[in-house]
Every structure is written in C-alpha cells, then in structure tokens.
Amino acid sequence: MLIAATLAILVVMALAIVRGVMGPTLYDRILAVNMFGTKTVLLISLLGFVMGRPEFLDIAIVYALINFVSVVAVLHYSEYSEFKSRPGEIEQSRKDS
C-alpha cells in the first residue's frame, strides 16, 4: 500500500510539473509549485516508511515550512514587479473585462 501511494504521488508530481512548465499565467505556476511542495512533503514521509527508517520526518516539516515561505515570497514580490511586466497575460484579461 505504501508503495502504491508513493507511485500515486510521483504521478501527481509529474502532472504538477507539466502544469508548472505550461502554466499560461504566473499564478498557475505558483499553484503548481505549491502543490508540488505539498506532494514532496507526502513523498518524503512515505519514503521514510518505505525505507524502514521513519525518523527523518524533520525533512518533511522543513519542506512544509519552506513551501509556505516561498509561496508568500512569490506573492509579495509578484505584487511589486507587476507594474513593470510586459503587456501580456494579466493585462490581457484586464482589457477584456
């Protein structure tokens, strides 16, 4: 069961990567990164049990925290840089509204 769950997580990671690479807007990418981070946390926890040494969950905790920090950072700084981004994705939808 553990291995099946690990495989499922790996597949989801692949899907998230696809979205992160394709992602038409910046926010899609942030979403993909966030999801990827959560999946990594799960993967690490599962791997610990699969390999028989589950003491190393500290790493998973660090991932959860760092993931949060980086999402906050991306939001914070995308706000700053927004006004100098090219007429592209976001302005596009704004014009359409």
Binding site: A14, L26, L65, I66, F68, S70, V72, H76, Y77, E79
Partner: protein, 330 residues
C-alpha cells in the same frame, strides 16, 4: 530514478523559458526535486540542507533580484550553435569518462574503501554521536568546516559591501500606502504567520540541538531561523523587521559565530592539544567531543542565520529603494 527524469525535464524547461519569474519558480521545484532525490539516496542531512537552501533561500533571493532587474529576458542567442557544439563535445567526453566508473551502489567502489569505514566503525567510540555526518562535519573535518564558515561570513561581508544603502531613505507616501493596502489584503496570511513563526523558531532550535542524533545541525538550523525572520519581514514590512532585529546586532552576531568556532580551537590549543582537538575540552574525551561539537554547531548556526538575514535585508532594502526611485521618476 523517475525523479532524475523530472529533473532533466525541469532543466530543459528552464533553458526554454524567457519569463525569469517562471524560471525562478521552476528552479524552486528543481531544488525540491533534487532534495527528494537525496532522500532516496539516504543522504538525509544533505536533503535537509538542500530543502532549506536550494528550494527556500536561493529561490527567494532570485525572486528579489528578478523583481528589481526586470522580468523578461531578451532573446539574444548570439552564439548558440557554438555553445551547443562545445556543450555536446564536453558532454560526450564526460559520458565516455563515466564508462570507467564503478556501477552505482557497488559496495567495493574505491570511494567506499578508504576513510569511510573508519568513520562508520569508530565514530561511536571516539565521538559518541550517532549521526556520523555531524561527527565528521564538526570533529573529524572540523578544520574544513571552519573554512566554510569563514567563506559564508565573507560572502555576508561582500553582500554588505555591495548593497548596503548608506543613506536612510525618507518615508515615501506612495510606498507606505502600498504597504498598508497589502497588509490589509493579507490579513489571514499575517495571522497564520504570526501563529506559525514561534513554531518555526522552536523547530529551528530543535534542529540545532538534535543534530547529534538525527539529521540537522548548525547549517540547517541557521537557514530555518533565517527563513522565519525573512517570513516576518516580508509580511510585516522591512521597517518593522529592522526594528525587531537591528542591523548592527546581526552583523555582530555573524562575527561572533565565527569567533566562537575559532575560539573553541584556540582553547583546545591552550589545553595542550591540536587546533580543534575537542578531546581536551573536558576530562573525559567523549564528553569533550560532545561539548566541542555543541559549541561549534552553535557558532555555525549563529553565523549562517545572521549572514542569511544580512543578505536578505540588503537585497530587499535595495530593491525597495529601487522601486521607490522608479516610481518617483515615472
């Protein structure tokens, strides 16, 4: 194995993308991926560090830089055919070189035969610390680690020299109002962060002092500590964070960390041993080792935290100044 394939995909995507923001984000994923790969290869300490550093701090610093330097890359591939040729030739040569390598995971590879068995077999009696990585890092190869800490300290000094703003910029109404609106917008985020930050700090302390028994140690703890402070300063504004953690104090701390490390070495000389010979710090050699490792890790943690915070403060401060000037001129 699959993870490595992912890594290659991400790297190729990074080559292709022009939007630097996306590139930075993908490099964040790249960091997470390589860290999980390290976990599968049993390198838990390395994974720990890579998670905190490669996925966290590096991405963050790049984000700040990209914010300032502009989001898009100009498509100027001046000499890309030559570059491709050079890269391909080098790659083929390197792959040819790997054909002589011992296979992955083989027990009798030359790398496994020399010092490693001694570390694995003797460290429990000599150092008394279950985490071999910590004992090698802080004791057997303490000299190297001192060098690394000095390198980090130097990088902090370099960033200070390059980016520290001499003048205190006057308060601008525009940026203040932007900040206020942003803070109202992220009310929930701020509340949750306020709850989380004590836990992050506590966890950093746990990592610092549990490093003897599990993955962790000064480097990792320092980075986590710094991440907490950075989180605070992002959500509550740089000026608030500067009031909590004053710049001179943190500069002093970064120097103190190196000093603690060095003075442990000097004390062991004064006790009649070699530099960084912890056996003589106490009557019992193993207790001496414990004490030495504890102090050294403390020094490392101190330096790493303060250098990371210095770097971030200067980056963010510089970017804010830049943005303000740009807004004024616009």
């Amino acid at each position: 194995m699959v993870l490595l394939g992912f890594l290659v995909c991400i790297a190729i995507a990074i080559v292709r993308l022009k939007d630097l923001f996306a590139v930075v984000m993908l490099s964040g994923i790249y960091g997470l991926l390589s860290a999980s790969f390290f976990v599968t290869l049993d390198a838990v300490d390395v994974a720990f560090t890579e998670a905190a550093v490669g996925a966290g701090i590096a991405t963050l610093l790049m984000l700040v830089t990209v914010t300032m330097t502009g989001r898009y890359e100009h498509s100027a591939h001046h000499n890309s055919i030559w570059a491709l040729a050079v890269v391909l030739v080098t790659g083929v040569l390197l792959i040819y070189g790997t054909l002589d390598m011992p296979y992955f995971g083989s027990v009798d590879a030359p790398a496994q035969l020399h010092v490693a068995p001694r570390y694995i077999n003797n460290s429990m009696q000599e150092i008394g610390v279950p985490n071999i990585v910590t004992s090698v890092l802080a004791s057997y190869r303490g000299y190297d680690t001192l060098g690394e800490v000095v390198v980090i300290f130097t990088a902090g000094v370099g960033v200070l020299a390059l980016l520290s703003a001499v003048h205190r910029p006057e308060k601008d109404d525009g940026i203040v109002s932007v900040n206020v609106s942003m803070h109202e917008k992220y009310l929930i985020l701020r509340v949750v962060t306020k709850i989380l930050i004590p836990f992050i700090l506590l966890f950093a302390l746990y990592v610092q002092f549990h490093g003897d028994y599990g993955p962790g140690g000064g480097f990792q703890a320092g980075v986590i500590f710094a991440a907490a402070i950075i989180l605070y300063s992002m959500l509550f504004g740089m000026s608030t964070a500067r009031r909590v953690i004053s710049q001179p104090l943190i500069q002093l701390l970064s120097a103190i960390g190196v000093l603690v490390y060095g003075s442990v070495g000097v004390v062991s000389i004064l006790n009649g041993g070699n530099f960084l010979d912890y056996n003589l710090l106490s009557d019992d050699p193993v207790a001496g080792q414990h004490l030495g490792i504890l102090l050294v890790e403390l020094g490392i943690g101190c330096t790493v935290t303060s250098v990371m915070v210095i770097i971030f403060f200067n980056f963010a401060g510089r970017t804010e100044d830049h943005m303000r000037n740009e807004r004024k001129s616009a």
